[in-house]
Symmetry: C2
Subunit: 222 residues, 2 copies
């Protein structure tokens, strides 16, 4: 069975208060996106890597790869205006009979155990997405204010999200909706069940300035 990783480096990162795209910000001296790619390649040296980047960042990325002598082979695919269109472009490059892992380029800290759980469940059941428990109270905003919820019924969803390639390619032929915030929601819109597997707490999404120092602290420890 082939394995492909689609790594999304498509965000413009306007929450980061920095000019440089967030996936290119260095942690421990190396851009976040390179850490993410290396992590997948260390997990599985045979996995095929596809990196999705906005058109405007492709040259910058190639220059960074030269500068850092980054020699992990990867295909570059042009991103779309929304995450949905980026993944839609990327899955066109995946052959049948593969398991596809779709991953946020700003999550360099996913554990190999999590990747393995996603891969196995996607292979057995067609779909797999990693979750972790909430460790704080949550409330739902309602028309009249807000209400307390039982947090044990809600899960934080991470990436990589894994799918059989035929399934995800077919799913992304659907018409775009702004409700599609991740791949699971696209799959689900077609009545296909998504299977939850355990993620890992260190697998944080680097989107805010404070996440940079958190990620650096976690990487130094590992």
């Amino acid at each position: 069975m082939l394995r492909h990783a689609i790594i999304l480096g498509g965000g413009v990162g306007n929450r980061m208060e920095m000019q440089i795209p967030k996936q290119f910000i260095p942690i421990l001296g190396k851009p976040i996106l390179m850490h993410a790619i290396e992590n997948f390649k260390k997990f599985d040296s045979k996995i095929e890597i596809i990196v999705v980047l906005p058109e405007a960042h492709i040259l910058l990325w190639k220059n960074l790869c030269n500068e850092f002598k980054f020699d992990i082979e990867h295909q570059i695919v042009r991103g779309g205006k929304e995450r949905f269109f980026s993944v839609q472009n990327a899955v066109e490059h995946i052959p049948n009979d593969s398991i596809v892992l779709i991953h946020d380029g700003v999550r360099p800290l996913v554990s190999h155990e999590t990747i393995d759980r996603v891969l196995q469940a996607a292979y057995e059941k067609g779909t797999a997405i990693p979750y972790i428990d909430l460790n704080e109270s949550i409330r739902e905003i309602t028309s009249t204010g807000s209400q307390a919820l039982d947090r044990s019924k809600f899960k934080i969803i991470q990436t990589p999200q894994g799918f059989k390639s035929e399934l995800i390619k077919k799913a992304y032929q659907i018409e775009y909706s702004p409700n599609f915030t991740d791949d699971a929601s696209v799959i689900e819109a077609q009545g296909i069940e998504v299977n939850l597997v355990l993620g890992n707490q260190r697998n944080i999404k680097i989107t805010r300035p404070l996440d940079l120092s958190i990620a650096e602290s976690l990487m130094t420890q590992s």
Copy 2:
């Protein structure tokens, strides 16, 4: 108007994989709970501090205070079996005409801006709880599996939660229910509206081993 801070040091911390209660674990050389108390006292030197501790930890805490020459005046109240009973014990020590801030002892990083927003809103409206947005997707567990949610409708709830003392003292005369996971849920059970104010992202709850290094990293930065 009087101000009181009830700081809960009541957890047994079994998620922390350590023998020492989590609120007593040192960060930058000082127990987390001391950081939390100092933070409130720096915000407002006139605030009255009530620390709630399990009976079994009171002597240990007093010894730590001696060892660290911790000289911030505070009243110690014995905690109950559940968070609810701890707060119930503590609010009995609060006079009328005060604003009470109820805070997790394992949140040493709440900003003074957050405390001020909570205090002001509690003063004006009777109740105030701080929230932050989710920056990851969430799903709800259902009887048949799980479903995607619009994350903009859900908020992470932090502490301190602030109340007029008459209101919170009356609220805690209610009979205990396991659904009471925080003070807002106790207040709400009596039909009183809770008002949301903006919290701060650095105000993390230290409950897991990786939170310790995250907190240390954030504290070093500040």
